[in-house]
Amino acid sequence: MPDVDVGRFRLLVSAIAGKPMDVAAGEPGELAWTDGTTIFVDADERDALHSLAVQATLVASGSLAPALMDKLARRPTPTRRYLALEGHRALAAMQDLLPASVRCLVDRETASRSESAEQSLELATGRAGVPDPPEVFGAIRPKRVRAPVDPTGDAPFARHLPWRNEGTRQSLDRDESDDDTPALDFLSSPVGGGGPIGRLLKRLLGEMRPGGSDAPGADVPTYRSRRSTRVARPSALTIGAASIPDDAELVVGTSAVYPEWDVFRRRYRRNWCTVVERAVEPAPESAVGAPRADALRHALARLGVELERRRRQPQGHDIDLDAAVEAYVENAAGSAPDEALYVDTVRSRRDLSVLVLLDVSGSAGEPAAAGGTVHEHQREAAAGLVAALRDLGDRVALHAFRSQGRTAVEVLPIKYFDDAFDTAALRRLDGVVPRAYTRLGAAIRHGAAVLEANGGTSRRMLVVFSDGFAYDHGYEGEYGEADARRALAEARRRGTACLCLSIAAATDPDALRRVFGTAAHARISREDQLPGVVGPLFRSALRSVELRRRAWQRTHRTRERLRVERRTA
């Protein structure tokens, strides 16, 4: 079975290990082994499944605890003896949790010789005869077990399963000869990993740590954050460079042309900006499952939902007297009365569609104050927001945008309104690498147009995630601000609420506040503060648009009436 994707076994090993685990393809012919968070297995091996189960069992039973591993380092024979004893012991101890075919691997006699991992170690380092471990058990590589293996499984499940990439595997292979890799220690050390030098090194070297293992302690839990920009691809090293983006190759949608407001000449430049939709190259792998957005969902649940009394309903909690009297009269007059005679209180539908625009210009690749890059924080927040709104039944789309001058404003669709927000979408989101510039006005005009065309609801909202103000060729300072403000005014006049969120921005996004207005812009330092701000922000944005629309309708009606009166007069 050469084409077996070992990632399919991820859930199985996580279930056995009792914590999120990953599976990666090992060298052909290599025995299965684990570093504590990822199990490497040769997919062509017939017994791959059994090897995975045994390795996961070792993790679950605490057989790979660092204290034990330290004692086995560089001692191949005791390690093999330990594997035989501990493997059988752990399998026997966990047998109620294991698939039937794995349970029959247990040699009860060997299993009964040891009561605990410590005892197995004692026996393994002693002189008593111990049979060789069956090949299906794989191997233990004491120096490679990185993450603290906690048998109580307090590794939080809220984290996503770590992500594997080819680069990880290659960098591991390179130092196959030597078990001890100083580079790994340096990168995962509390000082080096979280600090700027560590980040720089990591970016230069690519991800050298085995598949997303937890740094001991100080690494900021940026939640799924290591998986994207630090892929060991050359493209990841050219952050901010003005080259043709190589994570977005294919042109999908049609291109659209938009005007731009020239504040100096006080008029529009017609057909000035070309917006192109490009397909994003998805990241090779992504975490399983959608982002959990419980807090955000809570914050947004009551948005735009009101109770409303409706008359003349076919059912309801009270009789609509007007309708009842009318029906009585009609009945008496001999015609068939309408049967909708009740008053009902119903919850109004949310009827909301949201387009989330994610700024992926080069500045988003800058390091954030809270660790990671600004882009990583923005991406988490955008994914959370999309997941929350999707769960609440709103129509929601997610597009990233950047620009390279007025003729190349790129919109990278991550999720269209009709797409599912599934693993494929998450992989597309992970595949976006920040680069180039921001032409905010064109992005807003395109976003508003997409919303109006495909939103399909009476309430529309455009949410922009951006870290600082727009900057592009010939799009600076006052000019850019004025154009963006103009674009927002156009969208709002047509009933689309617009707001902007700046997350973990390194610079003060004053300009964004000036453009969007203080009531429609929020700046927070971490994405987990998002639930606190989105509720009021969304509510006020929707309300102001609603008022504007009603005002417009009123004016419109008055104008109509005046016209009619004038004509009749």
Partner: protein, 265 residues
């Protein structure tokens, strides 16, 4: 309820004693537990033991007070009052079971307040009467403290009028019995299904919002009893029921294949 056979329920802890004591004292009961763990079945069994009729209401977003208490309908040229399920239970001294009560609007659940404390009264303002609950009346509400409560929570003033009983998925041996009995499969098949369920439960939160409940295990078992191959049954009743995500689904199928492998010789 008709004096038939007792609905199959295996007690796990002291829940039957707690329920019985609360019932005799006229206290209301709040059942907490994940979906498919046996809350409804427990109430059915208790109603049978206590010899009371059971009135069940599945609560939802748009449940109004009138849906519970009753309303006027037009009949010809007259209006006629029709009792709601709660009023029926109060008049007849039945056990009224509100399933997933957090789904109901908070302004609706307020009507339960005078019923669930010492007053045991149901005021019906449209009729201008206040009904005293008949002896034997008992209010039971249930909710799933899992994901629903993220949106909605039970009001504190409602909660504090209740005696809480927490239910969870039963221990392995009990669950095996339940699956074997409900699905009509042999013990060995039940054991394999339960083992798969236990494994999936260890994944909670990683990729799944809700884990495999006793109910889906029973459903899979019933398909097996109908002659379906066990893996097909599990794919339909467990993997398909738990997720829509193709990647997670593929992972679950691998788990099913591993756990429901044909028993080795």
């Amino acid at each position: 309820m008709t004096p038939g056979t007792r609905p199959y329920y295996v007690p796990v802890g002291n829940e039957e004693q707690v329920f019985g004591a609360a019932y005799r004292q006229g206290l209301s009961v709040l059942l907490k537990g994940p979906t498919g763990c046996g809350k409804t079945r427990f109430v059915e069994a208790m109603a049978h033991d206590l010899g009371r009729q059971l009135v069940t209401v599945a609560c939802h977003d748009d449940l109004t007070t009138a849906d519970l208490v009753g309303r006027f309908l037009l009949k010809g040229n007259e209006t006629a009052w029709v009792d709601g399920p709660l009023t029926t239970a109060v008049r007849e001294g039945a056990i009224c079971y509100l399933d997933e009560v957090v789904e109901a609007r908070q302004d609706t659940t307020v009507v339960l307040h005078p019923l669930s404390d010492h007053r045991r009264q149901l005021p019906i303002d449209r009729l201008g009467v206040t009904l005293d609950a008949a002896p034997g009346f008992c209010l039971v509400v249930s909710y799933n403290p899992g994901y629903q409560s993220v949106l909605k929570d039970l009001k504190d003033s409602t909660r504090q009028r209740m005696v809480a009983i927490e239910l969870d998925f039963p221990p392995v041996d009990v669950e095996e019995k339940v699956v074997a009995h409900e699905a009509g499969v042999d013990h060995e098949m039940a054991q394999r299904l339960v083992r798969l369920g236990q494994a999936i439960r260890r994944l909670e939160g990683a990729a799944l919002r809700e884990v495999a409940s006793t109910r889906v295990l029973v459903a899979a078992g019933r398909l097996v009893g109908e002659g379906l191959p066990v893996r097909d049954a599990a794919r339909g009743a467990i993997a398909g029921a738990l997720t829509d995500d193709p990647v997670v689904s593929a992972g679950l199928v691998e788990m099913i294949d591993a756990y429901l492998d044909d028993e080795p010789v």
